[in-house]
């Protein structure tokens, strides 16, 4: 019989129950234990970031070694990572060089991707009718366009009846969004419960 899955399930289930009870029951030592377990979790998650970065490097190194497509980009990524990580350790995150690496490279690259996102979204809406020609798609696009017209500033001032559009469509949108969020909350609750009672065990070789 394999021991690891049993031990890991016992640890996960008991930690889950202690943390949950710590939220609702303020009898010592539950709240203190909850904080302690969360602190341990945060430390482990911090270490997991290092493991994740190692995974990123290992995958790119394998790409380079086996001469796969995109290996050159992989090499560039590993090189940049080593340089910034090394300088970050030596100089600290507040050093002007490190600030420059963030402000002059990472922020503009993310901003460029965000700009691409706007174009991608418009393109996706145009192609919606190519994929599905049904009443819901028409409603989706009409609602989006009308709502945007009512919200955005125009050179001629607000469009007539914008308050009515925002009132009616806003109420429907808010109601729909709340309904979706209640559904998601219920799904999250049940998923958490499955993990907490040990029915789902996405850890420890189960």
């Amino acid at each position: 019989m394999r021991i690891v899955p049993i031990v890991s399930a016992i640890i996960a289930v008991s930690a889950g129950i202690i943390v949950l009870l710590g939220y609702f029951v303020s009898i010592e030592p539950l709240p203190g234990l909850r904080l302690l377990l969360i602190d341990w979790g945060i430390i482990i998650a911090g270490m997991a970031v290092l493991v994740g970065i190692f995974n990123l490097v290992a995958v790119q190194m394998e790409k380079i070694r086996t001469r796969q497509k995109g290996g050159v980009y992989g090499a560039l990524l590993v090189l940049s990572l080593i340089i910034t990580f090394g300088f970050g350790l030596l100089l600290g995150p507040d050093n002007p060089f490190m600030r420059m690496a963030v402000d002059a490279v990472i922020v503009p690259v993310e901003a460029a991707l965000m700009a691409m996102l706007a174009v991608t979204l418009i393109y996706a809406s145009i192609r919606l009718f190519r994929r599905r020609r049904d009443a819901m798609s028409v409603l989706f696009l009409v609602a989006a366009v009308v709502f945007m017209l009512a919200m955005m500033p125009t050179p001629f001032g607000p469009i007539p009846g914008d308050w009515f559009i925002l009132l009616v469509e806003g109420a429907i949108a808010r109601g729909g969004a709340r309904g979706l969020l209640i559904g998601i909350a219920l799904g999250t609750l049940l998923t958490g419960l499955r993990v907490m009672i040990g029915v789902d065990r996405p850890y420890g070789d189960n």
Partner: protein, 243 residues
């Protein structure tokens, strides 16, 4: 105390219904996206292409971790079913803890299918730690790895548009769901069969992950009815001026 009582009630219902569902499996209403997913899995094994599963960037220390856990349950079943394939599925995520769990889940799936030697750690990948770096890394996987179907299930934001666009450019199927409302709107516009709201959490039940997943759908339905009754009763009492 009410919240704790509700949690206890949901847990008891879940356990009870799981035991019941083990004896009599549920009949689920058809959801087009999950039918497409089941077809895509079979197709990927037959024609030697890959399945790409992206679990988003849901941090397990926040409420957003729920969708990631739902994705992991689905992944476990998909790993078992595709273990016979020449090209194993690739799993990407934007959170380090989630990456480690995805590797563990893949490993377990392969072991359960008796194909442990097929498992490679490089099939569970961290593609980036910020939303856009995660999207950029995921897009390259869709482009480079001979992917025939992309399953994107988890916590994603607006960056999901880039992932959906890359999938469309590669002519691969996209089965996508997110717990984020903006990502849901994006997936509604960019996938053939969109998954809305809590349909994300039905993934496990629809890929055959077991009785507990079917029971959890039933508990969700029961709780939903309770919430509807509570909202209607609250509105009525408010209307009467009693609260």
């Amino acid at each position: 105390m009410i919240a704790l009582g509700l949690l206890g009630f949901a847990a008891v219902l879940l356990l009870g219904l799981t035991l019941w569902r083990r004896r009599s499996p549920a009949i689920l209403r058809p959801i087009d996206a999950y039918e497409r997913l089941n077809r895509a899995v079979g197709l990927a094994v037959e024609n030697g292409t890959r399945l790409h599963i992206s679990l988003g960037r849901g941090n397990l220390f926040t409420a957003r971790g729920g969708s990631a856990l739902a994705g992991l349950a689905m992944l476990r079943r998909l790993a078992e079913r595709t273990s016979a394939s020449d090209r194993p599925p690739i799993v990407t995520s934007g959170d380090a803890s989630l990456t480690i769990l995805s590797q563990d889940t893949l490993h377990s799936g392969y072991r359960a299918a008796g194909a442990e030697e097929q498992y490679r750690f490089s099939t569970g990948r961290l593609t980036g730690l910020t939303p856009f770096s995660y999207a950029a890394g995921t897009m390259t996987v869709e482009h480079d790895e001979n992917v025939s179907a992309n399953v994107v299930i988890g916590d994603l934001g607006a960056e999901s548009a880039l992932i959906a666009e890359a999938s469309d450019r590669e002519n691969s199927s996209l089965i996508a769901a997110s717990d984020d409302l903006s990502a849901q709107a994006i997936f509604y516009a960019s996938s053939q069969e969109p998954l809305i709201g809590e349909e994300l959490f039905a993934a496990g039940a629809y890929v055959g992950a077991g009785a507990s997943h079917e029971a959890s759908l039933q508990v969700q339905d029961i709780l939903r009815w309770l919430i509807i009754v509570a909202i209607l009763a609250g509105s009525f009492l408010k209307f009467l001026g009693m609260i």
